[in-house]
């Protein structure tokens, strides 16, 4: 099948792109001013441990051998130890990744669904008050400075109203209490999730709304909409069954293309809310000069963007039968 060949080709491209990034990162880390050994080996380590790690990472070898070590270590999941935590980087990432996935995917899905829904309504009322209001609302929320929005929400809903916790992801008294049920813990995380999720949602839904709106307006000019009208179908059926599914396709592409951009926002949100995710870990590791952790989280994020782009491409091909590769 053609689709499989297309996926194979994209996969090959992704592997190449990832290797390029892997290599560039290697060179940047080695060629930046300063000594790579001090950058990869924790200054607080005992000399024996340090010697072991240097041998493991190949830091005592010439540059091209180091590169082979580096690639090998990458595939073995060996990123060295975090300076700050004193643990293998991989363990830290394993702990943080689910938290980021929880916050990030729910926010993307929620804002895309609401954006598509509202965009559909706005396009249907083109030029009227509903449309103008929604367009302006979308423009304003989408251009808000994200960390500031996060601070505002914390200030209003956590500090003034006291409805939500100010930062963090769990309440210690619930999680350390052995008698807590699973649902209590889940509810606790949900309670902490509201504000960061709300921040990302408010920031993102506007762009989906605007794209859906203009895409709907384009679609409504298509011949098959005219045909549907001529058949005497109701406006509601035309809007929901004939126009909207086709108009939603560009939104899918946008989700994929803007992913790298959304990750910036995710990292900022995690940092302000001290949400223990990958993005916050990257920001934190940079401020702590924790190079092994910074390098690994950065690689992981680019890998996620690459793979998600592939998923979006495949999804697009699946959703739109006109596209065949």
């Amino acid at each position: 099948m053609d689709l499989w060949r297309y996926i194979g080709r994209r996969l090959a491209q992704i592997v190449i792109i990832f290797f390029v990034i892997l290599t560039v990162l290697f060179l940047v880390f080695r060629l930046a001013p300063g000594d790579p050994i001090t950058r990869m080996v924790d200054p607080d380590m005992t000399p024996e441990d340090a010697a072991l790690l240097i041998a493991q990472l190949g830091l005592d070898q010439p540059l091209h051998i180091q590169y082979i070590y580096y690639v090998k270590n990458f595939f073995a999941g060996q990123f060295g130890d975090s300076f700050h935590y004193g643990q293998p980087v991989l363990d830290i990432i394993k702990h943080r990744l689910p938290n980021t996935i929880l916050l990030f995917t729910t926010s993307i899905i929620l804002s895309a669904l609401v954006g598509v829904f509202l965009g559909k309504i706005a396009s249907w009322h083109k030029g009227k008050k509903t449309d103008t209001g929604m367009t302006i609302g979308a423009l304003v929320t989408h251009t808000l400075f994200l960390p500031w929005l996060a601070l505002l929400l914390i200030w209003i809903f956590a500090y003034k109203m006291g409805w939500f916790p100010i930062t963090g992801m769990v309440s210690e008294d619930i999680w350390l209490d052995p008698t807590s049920q699973f649902w209590q813990k889940a509810l606790d995380v949900g309670h902490h999730l509201v504000l960061p999720l709300g921040t990302l949602f408010l920031f993102h839904f506007g762009s989906y709304l605007l794209i859906m709106r203009s895409s709907m307006l384009e679609t409504l000019k298509e011949d098959y909409i005219l045909t549907a009208r001529a058949k005497g179908l109701t406006e509601k059926v035309i809007r929901n069954r004939h126009a909207a599914p086709n108009a939603a396709l560009p939104v899918v592409t946008t989700v994929g293309l803007s992913l790298a951009f959304s990750i910036n926002g995710g990292a900022l949100t995690e940092t302000v809310f001290t949400w223990p995710g990958i993005g916050r870990e990257l920001v934190f590791s940079v401020s702590q000069n924790d190079y092994p952790l910074a390098q690994a989280t950065f690689l992981l994020i680019t890998l996620v963007v690459l793979v998600s782009n592939l998923v979006v491409d495949v999804l697009y091909a699946y959703l739109d039968p006109r596209i065949r590769y």
Binding site: Q13, I17, L144, F145, P147, W155, A260, N264, S287, T302
Partner: protein, 302 residues
């Protein structure tokens, strides 16, 4: 998105501008955006004034001799002072200057790169095209803010111009893709064939025949790049990796946040955030209104 643009035959630039302006004027959002930008430009212009009145109004080094903590608005300090007793209004004005400086210069550079690379890629095709577009893809998957963070970790404190340069180098691929698509369609047009037959060189065709036709599109993208450059710089400063020798709005927010004043001092928390958001919004509205001028399909009743 905004790809297929109508072919414009070169008439008089002024007549074209007037025609565009008359369409632009009908767009209310565009007018609001432009007005706000004029206000921000005036803010940037007047940012030189406060330190001249009294050295204590210097945004970075000026400290009110009698105030040593954050105070609310007063006659002497219209927007209050920050944790060291520095005037918030003069910081806000200085921030406008930095925002324009960062936004416009980074956007100009990335648009220049994006347009040049897009035209070369589309016109030359083959190996050059594959290489440049793969390069664009490599850059596109790396979140610009995080790249700048990594570079700040490795090279230490980045100066404001280094930040501008990094943003410019990482924000051209989106533009180059659009310009490339436009160039590909232009390449098929008879007037390019005619120029080739007349013996024009590649360089001449690119600069004399293709460039005038893609430039409006480049300028449109420039407005969107300005917003992204301003936001990235602000976010970087907010996280504590900005240029410590400049007062930017992001830096001001970092001070509010890091000194724990965000719940105590709304007079300090609100202005910089409103400014960043509004300047982004105005460039965005400007871009959308320009889009309407350039693309007749988007106009009302179109």
């Amino acid at each position: 998105m905004a790809e297929a643009k109508p072919q414009r035959i070169k008439i008089h630039w002024i007549a074209q501008f007037q025609e565009g302006w008359s369409i632009y004027k009908q767009n209310i959002l565009g007018k609001i955006g432009l007005t706000l930008l004029v206000i921000f430009a005036l803010m940037a212009l007047f940012s030189f004034l406060p330190p001249l009145i009294d050295p204590m109004y210097h945004p970075m080094t000026g400290v009110d001799p009698v105030i040593s903590s954050s105070t609310g608005p007063s006659l002497k300090h219209w927007l209050g002072t920050d944790f060291m007793g520095r005037d918030i209004l003069s910081q806000l004005l200085a921030g406008a200057r930095v925002a324009f400086m960062v936004g416009v210069s980074a956007a100009f550079m990335s648009i220049f790169l994006g347009t040049a690379i897009g035209m070369i890629s589309g016109y030359m095709g083959k190996f050059v095209d594959t290489f440049l577009m793969r390069l664009a893809e490599v850059i596109m998957v790396m979140p610009t803010l995080l790249v700048t963070l990594i570079l700040a970790a490795l090279f230490g404190q980045l100066s404001i111009w280094a930040i501008v340069l990094v943003i410019a180098l990482f924000r051209w691929p989106g533009v180059s893709r659009v310009i490339r698509a436009q160039t590909l369609s232009l390449k098929q047009r008879p007037f390019i064939e005619a120029a080739k037959v007349a013996g024009a060189s590649h360089v001449r065709i690119i600069f004399r025949h293709i460039m005038p036709n893609v430039l409006p599109l480049s300028f449109l993208y420039m407005t969107f790049r300005v917003t992204s450059a301003i936001t990235i710089e602000a976010a970087l400063a907010f996280l504590g990796f900005g240029d410590p020798s400049t007062v930017s709005w992001g830096m001001m927010l970092q001070w509010v946040w890091k000194t724990g004043h965000m719940f105590k001092a709304p007079y300090w928390l609100l202005p910089p955030g409103i400014c960043i958001s509004l300047i982004t919004l105005s460039f965005y509205m400007l871009g959308r209104a320009m889009d309407e001028v350039l693309d007749p399909r988007l106009r009302r009743e179109g």
